[in-house]
C-alpha cells in the first residue's frame, strides 16, 4: 500500500505552511473588509482548520480508494461535495459564535454575502489537494510496479546466470570416474591422485558465486586442473600450452567463464579428433581488457564452425551479455583447422 503524502515529514511541513499562509491572507482580507481583528482571526482559523481537516481526510481516503477509471470526475465531485460540507460547517460554527458580539448581526449578513467567494476558496484548496494526492499515489504505484518488474528481471537474470555456470558435462564426470576405476587395479597411487584432482575440480565448480570475481591466476590454475584430468584420460594425445603475460596475472574476471570455453575446445579438439592435440591458452592485457585466446584444432570434415560465435558458444555469449550488456566480447577465428575463441573481459578501473 502506498504511503499517504501527509505521512512524510516534508510534505506535512509544506502542508502546514500552506495552511498558515492561507489563514494569514484571509485574516488580512477580512480586516480589509472592515471586520474587527478578533472576528477576522476567529473566522479565518475556524474555516481554514475545517479546510485542512477535509484536505487531510481526502488525501488519506484516496490511499484506500481511488477509482481507476473516471478519476478526474471523481475528484471534481468529491471536491464539490466536501467544499459544500465545509461551508455549511463554517456557517454552523461561526454565525452563532460571532453573533454575540456587538457587530453580530452585521457578521451574519457579511457571511451570507461572502458565501460564494468562500465556497470558491474552499473548493480551490480541496481540489488542489485532491489533484496533488492523485498524482502522488499514481507515481507511488508506478514506482512500486517498476520495482517489482526490476526485481523479477533481476531474479530471472540471476537464475539464468546460475544455469549458464552450472553446465558441468556429465560425460566428463563419469568418464573420469571410469578412469579412476581402471587405475585402482594397476596404479593405485595415480588413482588416488586423480580422485584428489577431480575433487578439487568439483569443489571449485560448486563454490563459485557470480558476484565474486576471481584473479586470472586462480582461474588458470583451475583450468590446468581440468586439463590435467583430461590428460589422464587422453594422456597419449593431449598437450597443453598455457601462457599468460606477467602484467595480467592479477587481473580479475567472472568465475567459470573460461571453463566452458576450454571445455568447448576439448570437445571439438580432443573428443572429435584422432591425432595428437595441442590446446593453447594465451592471456594478455589489451588496453582496459584482459584478452584471452583459446585455440584448438578441429576436424573440418566432421564439424564446421558456424559464422559468428559458432561451435556451441552461445551460452557463453549470453552470459557475457548478461554480465556486461555487450554483445561484442566474444569472437572466434578459423585458420585452416585451427579454431580460436577470443574473449575480452573489461576491467573495472
Amino acid at each position: 500500500m502506498a504511503r499517504s503524502p501527509l505521512s512524510t515529514g516534508k510534505f506535512l511541513l509544506i502542508f502546514l505552511s500552506w495552511w498558515a499562509i492561507w489563514a494569514f491572507l484571509q485574516i488580512s482580507l477580512l480586516i480589509g473588509f472592515g471586520l474587527t481583528a478578533s472576528t477576522a482571526v476567529t473566522d479565518s482559523l475556524v474555516s481554514n482548520t475545517l479546510i485542512a481537516v477535509s484536505c487531510a481526510f481526502l488525501s488519506n481516503n484516496m490511499q484506500y480508494y481511488l477509482p481507476k477509471k473516471e478519476r478526474y470526475w471523481y475528484i471534481l465531485f468529491i471536491s464539490l461535495a466536501l467544499s459544500g460540507i465545509v461551508l455549511l460547517a463554517c456557517k454552523a460554527i461561526l454565525v452563532p459564535l460571532l453573533s454575540d458580539k456587538s457587530d453580530g448581526v452585521a457578521y451574519s449578513v457579511f457571511f451570507s454575502r461572502s458565501w460564494a467567494v468562500r465556497f470558491d476558496i474552499v473548493f480551490l484548496q480541496v481540489a488542489c489537494m485532491s489533484i496533488l494526492s492523485v498524482l502522488w499515489y499514481s507515481s507511488e504505484e508506478e514506482q512500486e510496479n517498476r520495482q517489482r518488474r526490476n526485481d523479477a528481471e533481476r531474479l530471472a537474470k540471476e537464475a539464468e546466470l546460475f544455469k549458464l555456470r552450472q553446465q558441468l558435462a556429465p560425460h566428463f564426470l563419469f568418464n573420469s570416474l571410469n578412469s579412476i576405476s581402471a587405475l585402482i587395479g594397476s596404479r593405485p597411487e595415480q588413482a588416488r591422485k586423480m580422485i584428489q584432482q577431480l575433487s578439487d575440480f568439483l569443489r571449485g565448480n560448486l563454490k563459485k558465486e557470480e558476484q565474486q570475481w576471481v584473479p586470472l591466476t586462480e582461474e588458470l590454475q583451475y583450468l590446468e586442473l581440468y586439463l590435467d584430468i583430461e590428460k589422464v584420460r587422453f594422456g597419449h594425445r593431449l598437450t597443453t600450452d598455457i601462457r599468460c603475460e606477467e602484467n595480467c596475472l592479477g587481473m580479475k574476471l567472472p568465475p567459470m567463464l573460461l571453463q566452458p570455453i576450454v571445455e568447448n575446445a576439448i570437445k571439438f579438439g580432443l573428443y572429435d579428433t584422432t591425432d595428437q592435440v595441442t590446446i593453447a591458452i594465451r592471456a594478455r592485457l589489451d588496453g582496459n581488457y584482459v584478452r584471452i585466446e583459446v585455440e584448438n584444432p578441429f576436424d573440418p570434415e566432421t564439424s564446421r564452425p558456424k559464422k559468428g560465435t559458432g561451435f556451441g558458444l552461445t551460452s557463453i555469449q549470453r552470459r557475457l551479455y548478461l554480465l556486461f550488456a555487450r554483445p561484442d566480447l566474444l569472437e572466434t577465428r578459423v585458420d585452416n583447422n585451427l579454431f580460436t575463441t577470443i574473449v575480452r573481459i573489461p576491467q573495472q578501473v
Binding site: 571410469n178 581402471a182 587422453f234 573428443y271
Partner: protein
C-alpha cells in the same frame, strides 16, 4: 565364471574405446574369461571397422562417444555386425532405447559384478544359438538381427540427426545433412546426392524416411526423398505428378501424394 559354452574354439573379442584406461579395465575384467581372446584394442571407429573386417569377432565392446564417428555410426558401416556390449557414459535415458537390441550396455563406471552379468547374458544367448544350430532347427541367430534393429533405433540419436556416414571405396565419409540434395532408391542401396557427388549407403528408403527430420526431408516419391532447402521450383509434369527442380539443377519426380506432403512442409 561361466564354463557353460563349448570349449575348444576361442571366443574372439575386440574392444573399441577412445580412452586407453577404459579399454584397460575391460581387458582386466576379461582376464577371468580364459575362453575369450581380445584380438585388438581400437582407439576409434575407423580402427574398429578394420579390426571387425579382419578378425570377424564374436563380440565387441563398444563406446558410443568417440572421435569423428560414434559407435552407432561405426556399426552402420559394418557389413555383418557382431554382438555388441556397449560401454558408455552416455546418459541412462538415452541408452535405454537400445537396451533391447544390444546384448547389454554398461554405464561407466561399472564394476566387475555388473560386467559379469552382461557377459553371462551374452554367453547364455550364444549357448542357446549353438544348441539350436546343432539341433538343426531353422531359427535365425538373434545376434545380427538384433543389431539391425539397434541401428534403426540409433538413427534417432542426436549425432545422427545432423550427418550421415558412408563408405566410399576404402574411405569413410561424413556427410552433413545440409549438404544432401536428395536421396534416390538404387536396388538394395540408397544413393545420396550431394554437391560433392553421389554416395551409396546400404539402407532402405524407409529407414531414411524414418531417420531424417520430416520438416527438412520429404519423401516426394516412392524412390525419392528431397531436401526442402534445395527446392527452387515445382513444375507440373504429366498427369497428377510434378517435377521438383533443385538448386543444383537436378529434377526430382514428385508423386500425387508426395506433392501434398511437400506442399504441407513448404507451407503452401
Amino acid at each position: 565364471m561361466s564354463t557353460k559354452n563349448t570349449p575348444g574354439s576361442p571366443i574372439k573379442a575386440v574392444i573399441i574405446d577412445d580412452e586407453p584406461l577404459a579399454r584397460l579395465i575391460v581387458g582386466e575384467y576379461l582376464l577371468s574369461y580364459p575362453q575369450i581372446t581380445v584380438l585388438q584394442e581400437c582407439n576409434d571407429g575407423f580402427e574398429g571397422i578394420k579390426a571387425i573386417q579382419q578378425y570377424h569377432p564374436d563380440l565387441i565392446f563398444l563406446d558410443i562417444q568417440m572421435p569423428k564417428i560414434n559407435g552407432f555410426e561405426m556399426l552402420e558401416l559394418v557389413e555383418h555386425p557382431p554382438a555388441v556390449i556397449f560401454t558408455t557414459a552416455f546418459d541412462e535415458y538415452a541408452i535405454k532405447a537400445f537396451e533391447s537390441h544390444a546384448v547389454d550396455y554398461l554405464l561407466k563406471p561399472f564394476n566387475k559384478d555388473r560386467f559379469d552379468k552382461a557377459m553371462q547374458k551374452w554367453l547364455d544367448q550364444r549357448a542357446a544359438i549353438q544348441t539350436a544350430a546343432t539341433a538343426d532347427s531353422p531359427s535365425a541367430p538373434p545376434g545380427p538381427d538384433a543389431t539391425e534393429q539397434l541401428l534403426e533405433t540409433a538413427s534417432q540419436s542426436p549425432a545422427q540427426q545432423h550427418r550421415v556416414v558412408v563408405k566410399t571405396g576404402g574411405k569413410i565419409k561424413i556427410i552433413p545433412l545440409e549438404d544432401i540434395h536428395f536421396l534416390e532408391a538404387a536396388d538394395d542401396y540408397v544413393k545420396i546426392h550431394t554437391h560433392n557427388g553421389a554416395f551409396l549407403k546400404n539402407r532402405t528408403m524407409n529407414w531414411f524416411e524414418k531417420a531424417l527430420d520430416p520438416t527438412q526431408f520429404v519423401r516426394t516419391h516412392r524412390s525419392y526423398i528431397l531436401n526442402v532447402q534445395q527446392v527452387t521450383r515445382i513444375d507440373p509434369y504429366e498427369k497428377d505428378s510434378h517435377l521438383c527442380i533443385l538448386q543444383s539443377g537436378a529434377q526430382v519426380p514428385v508423386s500425387k501424394a508426395g506433392y501434398v506432403k511437400l506442399k504441407g512442409v513448404l507451407g503452401l
